[in-house]
Symmetry: D2
Subunit: 366 residues, 4 copies
């Protein structure tokens, strides 16, 4: 008695390639004459089968996916706030947190699903793993724009985001060279600096600050001044949103302590404020924000998402549950979800990537 129906949901922040994945899951499943239920807005559609905003859960057809390979976003919608173990509902005008995981299991069974493709990041994989405890036949697909999830060489969306950052830095190179400027680009990465580091390497930035390496102002100023002395009176700095000065305290005597900066100022503006008193050059800040999460996925991410989708269907076919599909270049494999979430992924101090960045002269601020 094989598989006949599977569910598919996309959770967490969106990223380029989700639609390519959905398409591949549907194509590979229909080939096997399975039905695929697209769950709306992450787990919301599983918590409440009547949920619809605007579509509701629906059985996905060839027509639904014919045209979505190249499109950003996710046709299923997504959500950051749908953890069934801590589900927030409105009750008597107040927000209350509940555990609705049993209701999710009931609905899963009521729908007659023989498996579930659960797409999400670190937090979502933890939830999927706990749902497996309750009997859900789940296969995870890793999704994180900033690569802070272990167990796979890459996730889809990452390379597209780096491309977006690189395109911005390329543009700044033009205008920086024509003027005397310090250009600061704030990029995503609250805990992991992969996006910043790849963007700095690809864009040829001169300074790169990441969450894993608390920075000091002095080496940054030294880098900028060295470049000035070499006849290059401009510098470009990439700053991850989670980058912070060493010790949480400013290591310089400026007119304003870093810690006093209002919360509304991002890491880029805080760096600008810290540098300006010490420099003769103008500083300019670019904040890329959610631009990094959108756009048509590049070819790498489309192919990776497509392969992940096919692999997830095949994992369900052979009953390889509680696993996460994973890229072990050049192969797609499965790994236990538990392994993938055992340890958050960060830029290692000894990583060859950090080493390469320093070898081409990028100042990391430490």
């Amino acid at each position: 008695m094989g598989v006949r129906r599977i569910g598919l949901l996309t959770a967490g922040g969106d990223c380029p390639g989700l639609n390519a994945l959905i398409r591949a899951v549907v194509l590979a499943a229909l080939e096997r004459r399975w039905d695929v239920l697209g769950i709306e807005d992450a787990t919301h559609g599983l918590v409440d089968l009547e949920y619809h905003r605007p579509l509701g859960n629906h059985w996905l057809t060839l027509d639904d996916v014919e045209d979505i390979l190249a499109r950003g976003g996710t046709i299923l919608g997504t959500s950051n706030k749908s953890d069934p173990f801590h589900y927030v509902v409105e009750r008597d005008g107040q927000r209350v947190e509940m555990d609705v995981s049993d209701r999710v299991m009931e609905n899963y069974r009521a729908l007659g699903l023989d498996g579930m493709v659960w797409v999400g990041g670190d937090g979502s994989m933890r939830i999927a793993d706990r749902m497996a405890d309750k009997g859900m036949q789940v296969v995870g697909v890793p999704k994180t724009i900033d690569l802070d999830l272990g167990g796979t060489d890459y996730t889809f969306g990452f390379h597209t985001a780096v491309e977006t950052i690189t395109a911005a830095v390329d543009r700044l190179q033009d205008t920086a060279e024509s003027h005397d400027r310090v250009m600061i680009v704030e990029v995503m990465g609250r805990n992991a600096g992969f996006l910043a580091l790849h963007g700095a390497l690809a864009g040829g930035a001169h300074i790169c600050l990441i969450p894993e390496v608390p920075y000091r102002i002095e080496p940054i100023l030294a880098k900028i001044r060295d470049r000035c002395r070499a006849g290059l009176p401009y510098s470009i700095a990439i700053v991850a949103e989670g980058a912070a000065p060493a010790g949480g305290e400013p290591s310089y005597a400026g007119p304003r302590a870093l810690g006093e900066m209002p919360k509304l100022l991002g890491a880029g503006a805080r760096l600008a404020a810290a540098l300006e008193p010490h420099l003769d050059l103008d500083t300019r800040v670019t904040v890329l924000g959610h631009v990094q999460r959108g756009g048509s996925p590049n070819q790498f991410d489309r192919i990776l998402a497509t392969r992940f989708g096919v692999a997830a269907v095949e994992a369900i076919e052979r009953g390889d549950f509680r696993k996460m599909v994973s890229l072990r270049t050049p192969d797609i494999v499965t790994v236990p979800i538990a392994d993938a979430i055992a340890k958050p992924r960060r830029v290692e101090r000894e990583s060859t990537l950090l080493h390469a960045a320093r070898s081409v002269g990028i100042e990391i601020g430490e």
Copy 2:
């Protein structure tokens, strides 16, 4: 006794297409067996013939321009601070402002120049016009990224900048649709809203705030809420950096007056702060900054810059001085510099562009 030598300088903020223009001037001049002196860093190279940072003035060859058509920036460098009538020099450790325009004329004559191609915006055209009073045989080329200069249908760089903005908005559309969000994009335009308005039309934004139209919060909130009611719980707002609330005062009762926001916060962050107390949706801000000034010029700007360059050389050839080259679609003509600077260019309240924006439902905030 024709022309034998001309000078060429690029002043003000840089923008895509400057190199295409330089190339065209050189190609058209060499064809006539003229020499072209590239002046370094706007007028700095004319004030001080020994100036060089890093190159100094130099006679431009075919080789110098063979490879620059598609490149952003300017191989001549540029400057925002080189007005010869208010030239800032260091004297006894203090910054002093001087009129060095006579020295510029001396140098112009000493170099044996028979004409000067002066590329710049509103302020630069004023300076060029005053240099013409002193006898310089000057032809102006309009350059402004935000189209705040009259006398020409378009300037090069503008369309490339709109493309950059549009690409960012396209990306936000993907991620906005997948979540419940108000996405705010802050774009250039201190006094003129052309970039914001074109970006909003091309990107399909729902709200567009420009300097020419002081905005009120209520219609913006109404637009966002209308969309929510229509099952579209996301909105995208483009905000020019010079956009400001009507009356300089916030028209709403929020926890924080707009006027109290620290200067460091741009127009986008100020709008976010004003909206957030009234909305259930998250807001996210993207600040494009100087990214808008860089990048390879798009085809429109390359062609326009090339045609401007050829036209500037031809204007010098026929002695048509104190004029600015100008696009009167589909022709390139010359207009008196005086006419171009008579009145700053702004988005007119009655403009067909503003009308088109409102016709497709874009809320202008008033």
Copy 3:
């Protein structure tokens, strides 16, 4: 008794911006509480109201157009073979041509349409004009990728196509410079050379062959050899598909007459075959083909299409029929359809664009 229902059809080859236009027509019409019937596959849906492949005619909603501004193609479908005055039907296994224009008028009336937005090129505007003779209240929207239609400064799609060509030439510049090569790029333009000429100017090509100027091989060879002598042993040629040698005869003594080349070889391959016997350099041919018709419209084309859409609705509103909307920079106006089709548009020998191309050294082959 105002307008209540209008029809909308897109005819001829597709081009970027059609969906932006459809969106604008629908937004502006719904604002007026009109209904808009999207006619399927050009006039096919008007000839046969039961026609559907795959959708059939349908009343367009906000939802239909919410997400299409940035997408290439046309959600209505299109066709090159749907002239109602020469409509081809299958009868007894044979293809017969019929005049079905009266049936089209009957259907137009049966649908209760008060106006029709007819989007198409030269041929389509002729048909629309003849339908107006029969009483259809038609407003034309010009659509031609290669700008071979008069009456308007630009049509949407053109600038996107030039951008596509320019991107290809940029890439060839990289590889041409690294080797000794003649790179040939064949672009669209059977009768008009605007795409080729704009692409050559924007891409910095060295040779540009267009239908309006029959070419000779000698000046082309001379250009290539001059560049070799100047230490630039590579050249890039843009060739419109309709470009042909002067006199229809090869003007050189090669091993193979141009006329003998099989029909399957395009203008690019024919030029390569003609050049190769005379050169020591390798030649390489790129044929862009329909790649030029696709892609997300660039910002210029999205804005132009949006403004055309709004203007078409307004023209219907004020009863300004038998007109075509038109860009007279910076305004959108209407012109009699008859004027627009009176004379096909071509690159004029005296045009300032051709002049600019020659001024920067582009060899036109004559």
Copy 4:
């Protein structure tokens, strides 16, 4: 007695990322106070120290590489015809092939080089290996646009080329959907189908023909007809230039045998000619050609090339000669050149990539 001087040459067809590699070699070498001699036009500059076209060999400075990270091509030039073991010289008006490898070694020693970074493909690695036999201290860097070289997960340039192909297919999707068409895209790949296969997966093509799998017409026709029956009367086929029908003979009874097609027709046009007699749909051919070799390298290729450059310098530093740098994701390692060239790399019939392509319905023609 450490390293003081190294040489660097780029051989074979060019590809995006060569300049990024050159930059990284120079930055990492200057950091060690080594000098780097850039050899002009592959081995030409080593065969003849006086060779210069246009630059000649030169010691590379920071200034030479400051601005090249993002640029296509190679500032050193390259050549396909510079094998020192089969070097072609003109003698008495005739082309004669000579072995000049000893002269190359002499020059290498005369220049006082302590190591050589040799960048190239399969053929170049063979040559480098033979030069090592003669005593050259060589480190290879793999460079092949179509991935037909073993020993490394990826080479730089490949992903950029796939992106170029994908962008073209995306554009064709727009126009194919609007009409009834078979769109054929001919891509590079004489012996290896990686580019075609990646492009087909990323672009969502329906048919993909590669050199490793001789194709038959019937399954291709069946795929096209199946799609028509499903209401999708358009198909997109990617064809590698080396794809050929099974048995070298056409497997269908058309008006023209495939084998009779003139040589000038590429694989794409030959497929079109083979399909057309059997289909009611129009076919259109795009030939991307050398467009695939150019363009700014994407971020993946810039980072990979940068890491290869750093790794090559480090290999020389530790005396790890006769090795090739290689990506073993996520690390950069060295492998014996002999291993890399032992067996040409091809798409394996059992490869997971081919499997994924078939799983999403791509017809491979067999």
